[in-house]
């Protein structure tokens, strides 16, 4: 079984944790706020640890040394970037994925070997694609009547 450590249990982190659990990963979730556990549903079978992801002792307790993947998705870009680098450089985790909202910082750290996921640029691309689709005029209704 693969081990995942998910740091930050907001909308993103909790959904990732639930999905990985569905896919039979052994998932441990860390969040500063114990109320965040409710995002994982009634009977979360994995581990849930209350604390800050900057705390190296807590990361060790959470099993970072055995983790196959670490997903960092707290609500702070800078916190995520630092925790991601700690996971990668200090604990030698092979697969570290970090949520970074600011495209500029996401790009800079991606160039430095951190696997950053940037929801902002994903949203920008999706909105642009959707707008371009809207801008293409729909087939005029008369044409359809002719065909019919």
């Amino acid at each position: 079984m693969l081990n995942a450590l998910v740091i930050g249990c907001g909308r993103v982190g909790s959904a990732v944790a639930l999905q990985l659990h569905q896919e039979e990963w052994d998932v441990t979730v860390v969040d500063e706020n114990e109320d965040a556990l409710s995002r994982l549903g009634e009977n979360w079978p994995g581990r849930f640890i209350v604390g800050h992801g900057m705390d190296a002792a807590l990361l060790r307790d959470a099993g970072i040394e055995e983790a196959d993947a670490v997903v960092v998705a707290t609500d702070g870009d800078n916190t995520n970037i630092i925790i991601g680098q700690v996971a990668q450089k200090r604990f030698d985790v092979r697969c570290v994925v970090v949520r970074v909202l600011d495209p500029a910082r996401a790009k800079f750290y991606a160039e430095r070997g951190l696997n950053t996921v940037n929801p902002t640029s994903v949203a920008i691309d999706a909105l642009l694609d959707a707008s371009r689709t809207c801008a293409i005029p729909a087939a005029p209704p008369e044409a359809e009547e002719v065909v019919g």
Binding site: M54, A56, I81, V86, A104, R105
Partner: protein, 220 residues
Amino acid sequence: MYVIVAGGGKIGANVTRSLLRLGHEVTLIEQRRDRFEVLEDEFEHQVQRGDATELFVLERAGIARPPDIVLALTGDDEDNMIVGQIAREKYGVPKVIARVNDPRNQPHFDLLGISPTICATSSVMALVEHEVPEHDLIHLLELRGENLEIVEVQIDGDSPSAGKSIEALSLPEGSRLISVMRSGHAEIAVGSTVLEAGDQVLAILEPGKEDELRRVLLRR
């Protein structure tokens, strides 16, 4: 020289004032509006409002020149580490000094190569140890760049080194005694200096030699 200061709290504001008084060119960056307005009254165009971890904010402050030094002095350790990394690695700023707010984050600064750092808590604790020694070997100063540290050792009556001259001690390689403080008076340590109970000895050594030094001086 040109200095960018990130964080306009008490430390950042006082450092900015001191640097300006010395005739340096400074740009201070502060994120909070209320704090920024207070600072603007004093520093005028030399303070800018924004998040110093945003690249465009740093660029507006002139990070691309680049400055001679960047001081990351915000109240948030993650922010200080990011400012330090971006300044050094993206813009080639030659020197960065970062503030450590929570001493538990010190290993993260070290891991990311952000150095030198300054931590008020650690400084206070070092002074407390110096004033009220709890341990037999007190770390006074770490010279990270040189990979050396300066420690203080208190010699007492049971110490095997008491009554011996320094040249008669087989001090570990990579260590030297610097000075001996006796009844409120310090002297430079030389080979013929004879240690006595009650002496406070300063030593310089490579990290990791503490136990050997402790054994020779104190047999503990």
